[in-house]
């Protein structure tokens, strides 16, 4: 029964993950699990110092835990399910010491981590993502499972393609999924592998000793109705103690370490006397085990969090943030708040249709680990897609309508003349101008030649030019953060209007014409103060015409 619910939960988590892409329907909360996570919510609310509406969904989890107990860890948490599944595959036959000798010391770890993360959050450093199971697993899915799954599915389709052709199944015989690629796939896999490997010593090592979300829930889960009870039939055979995946049963098997109990029911399954039951009860006192936290430990982790917070914030990345080169997704709130609010789940990067969103490693310091940045050389941001904001559980990227999102300027394209084929080599190339959806690139007569220039007020930084630039390696036209619009609230369209920006896909003024022979403008036109571009047009023909 428990296994069934767990698998269902993992399937739901996976299904929501799959749906987090273009074109996500508005009614579907693809970020449901992340919203329900109280640690992420607390972290975001503390760090951002404001109430985030989507984060309030976590109250449901808190309420249910108050009512039932710490069932979340045993039944719902997809990380828990993954750990149980992989434990079954890899370590089932391993003889493991249960509980570990260091049990009581290790057990404190998760509380210390919880205190550490929350105190860091109070200072304004969002760090809980490192150990939050839901964010962790979403990242693992995004950077590892998703690309690997696409590769395998394509391989499978390739294998069956001859069969599909034979059967005349036209659409499926042409089916191929575009392969997503991410930086930091390896590091994400290593971390996840590490968590699984810890099971070698004891089942659910992560959940017992490290998970700060479990630590948080355990603070009030003993108030829940369902409690483990052992009747007089117990012959103290200790099977339950050995079998308990959470190590929640003490030396006296009739007693339960309440905060650690996830109500999985393993103990009652293995009991030869059927002496264990989980029945509703209101009693609170007595068996409520106290948190075994030394004052010293509390002090160290609390101050540790504060210090880490201060340190991480006093870096060039924050203090000189205006000088950084990162392009954030459209709708990302102002950088300071963005870093505080973003929980690094990777959902935006998963959902990104073009695969331009990539995780940062050190580009914005410790405080920016795994935050999304746009890699516009890899892929542009498409004006028909606004899914990254839709799936952001803390709204560090605001959910915007398409029209609003296209006004959320992420930067401005600049031409690097020394690389540009036209500027540096007088070659005829007009790819950036051709591809620009906003006609922000025009050819202007300059010093005797027609040269591409960017009209900054028409460029919203979508990056089509940067991606398509035919120069090998670095692009000759790059989007820099200059001119980005980052709004915490209010309309991007209004802001753009106020700044006199116009991102309209209408015919520009660039009915420019190039002659086959080159870009040179007749000598006598030069130096007369004005180059009579329009007159010149009459005698010229567009490219491709003779």
């Amino acid at each position: 029964m428990r296994g069934f619910i767990q698998i269902l939960s993992l399937l739901l988590f996976s299904a929501l993950f799959v749906f987090a892409t273009y074109k996500l329907p508005d009614w579907l909360f693809a970020d449901l699990y992340l919203r329900l996570d109280p640690l992420l919510s607390l972290n975001a609310i503390f760090a951002a110092r404001e109430i985030i509406p989507r984060a309030l969904w976590a109250l449901l989890t808190v309420g249910a835990t108050l009512l039932i107990g710490r069932f979340f860890c045993g039944y719902v948490c997809p990380m828990g399910v993954s750990i149980d599944l992989l434990d079954f595959f890899f370590f089932r036959k391993k003889r493991r010491e249960n509980p570990l000798r260091l049990e009581s010391t290790l057990r404190r770890m998760k509380y210390l981590l919880l205190i550490f993360f929350l105190s860091a959050a109070v200072v304004g450093l969002s760090l809980a993502f490192l150990f939050d199971p839901i964010a962790f697993l979403t990242r693992f899915y995004t950077f590892f499972i998703y690309p690997v799954a696409v590769t395998l599915i394509n391989l499978f389709l390739d294998l069956l393609r001859p069969l599909f052709r034979q059967l005349g199944w036209v659409s499926i015989s042409h089916l191929h999924f575009s392969q997503p690629v991410f930086y930091m796939t390896a590091i994400t896999l290593l971390l996840f592998g590490g968590i699984i490997f810890l099971n070698r010593w004891v089942p659910r090592f992560w959940c017992r000793y490290l998970c700060p979300l479990g630590a948080f829930l355990s603070l009030f889960s003993p108030l829940g109705l369902l409690k483990r009870r052992v009747n007089e039939e117990c012959n103290q055979c200790m099977r339950c103690r050995k079998a308990c995946p959470m190590g929640a049963i003490g030396e006296d098997p009739r007693k339960t370490n309440r905060p650690e109990c996830v109500q999985c029911g393993t103990c009652s399954e293995v009991c030869p006397k059927e002496a264990v039951s989980f029945s509703p009860s209101f009693s609170i006192g007595g068996e409520y085990s106290k948190l075994d936290l030394s004052r010293r430990g509390f002090f160290f982790s609390f101050s540790g969090g504060l210090i880490a917070g201060f340190l991480a914030l006093q870096t060039p990345f924050r203090l000189r943030r205006g000088k950084l080169q990162l392009i954030r997704p459209p709708g990302a709130i102002p950088e300071d708040e963005f870093l505080r609010t973003c929980i690094r789940c990777g959902e935006c990067m998963k959902s990104c249709l073009t695969n331009t969103l990539q995780p940062s490693l050190w580009e914005s310091g410790l405080s920016g680990l795994w935050t999304p940045k746009m890699d516009l050389r890899l892929a542009p941001c498409d004006q028909n897609c606004n899914v990254c904001g839709k799936v952001c559980p803390t709204q560090a990227i605001r959910s915007l309508s398409l029209e609003e999102k296209n006004h959320a300027k992420v930067g401005t394209a600049i031409i690097r003349k020394e690389l540009c084929l036209v500027w540096a080599q007088n070659k005829i190339c007009l790819i950036c101008d051709e591809i620009c959806p906003y006609n922000a690139i025009v050819f202007r007569p300059l010093e005797g030649y027609r040269r591409p220039v960017v009209i900054a007020s028409k460029c919203n930084g979508c990056g089509y030019c940067e991606q398509r630039c035919p120069v090998k390696g670095e692009s000759a036209i790059v989007v820099v953060p200059d001119g980005e619009i980052r709004l915490k609230e209010g309309s991007y369209q209004e802001e753009a209007r106020r700044l006199r920006l116009e991102f309209k896909p209408d015919p520009g003024d660039d009915k420019f014409i190039l002659e086959q022979e080159g870009l040179k403008i007749e000598e006598d036109r030069i130096g007369k103060g004005k180059t009579l571009f329009k007159e010149k047009l009459k005698s010229q023909k567009p490219k491709g015409f003779l």
């Binding site: 074109k23 498409d382 051709e434 035919p470 491709g544 015409f545 003779l546």
Partner: protein
Amino acid sequence: MDHWEITRRDFLKTAVAVAASVSGAKGLSLSHAKEEYDLVVVSGEPIPATQKAIELLGGLSRFIKRGERVIIKPNMSFARTPDVGATTHPLVVATVAKASIEAGAKEVLVVDHTLQRPELCLERTGIQEACKNLSGVHVLTVQERKFFKEVKIPKGKVLDRIEVIQEILDNPVLINLPTAKSHSATGVSLGIKGLMGLIWDRESFHSRYNINQALADLATVIRPRLTILDATRALTSGGPGGPGEVKKLNLIIAGIDPVAVDSYGVSIVPWYGQNFKGRQVEHLLAAYQRGLGKIDIDQLKILKEKA
């Protein structure tokens, strides 16, 4: 592709005969039956104009044998709505697809190798939606090299081989369904330029070869049975992707001579504000010089009708 041959003479004799029988009341005298037409040009809204053009051609059953699989190549390379003029009108595509099925085609594959994300192109162009309820019609984008196959170009001047979508090699019937638009590198993008959507390495045409000569080479090996030019709107500047100036012309131009269709397409509207003839378009001239069709429209026999 070469095993199917129908001379222009045969084609238009029958075409007009059928047209005359269908629309006799509308005043097409029998004497027309003895004339030979190179093109049919119909003015009207997308669906009726396309239907009329097909009717004047004598119906698609003249081009499709029963049970054949038909490849339709519209322009759906850009994720733009039809009003931008960068892609073939969805209703024109659907009308031709439907007529193909009615003419006995086993299946219709509407295929393009898109420039932007395929899911966006399929959705934004409206082509997927328009063909949704047509049974036997599949709208596909082909983005992976494994779906392409190399062909030799014996008559090529700059290309000696090219990788093209395998389906057009496996199936004899290709109907080219371009939209009429300007193009920043080739002047105009009509039927012959539209064939570029069937090759793997589009980039090489821009960077490695003279694109105009390469297009003419390509046209020697990809020979559509029919070209139906959607000039219901024409993107007369800002092509190929737009945004640019869009003129509503309400024209459908159809024929089997790819050069003639394109050459007529050049003449219907000023491009970039100037009037041109087919001969002035470098890639059309090159195609003409390869012997692929007629280029001087004053020498063409054209059947004009209103839908």
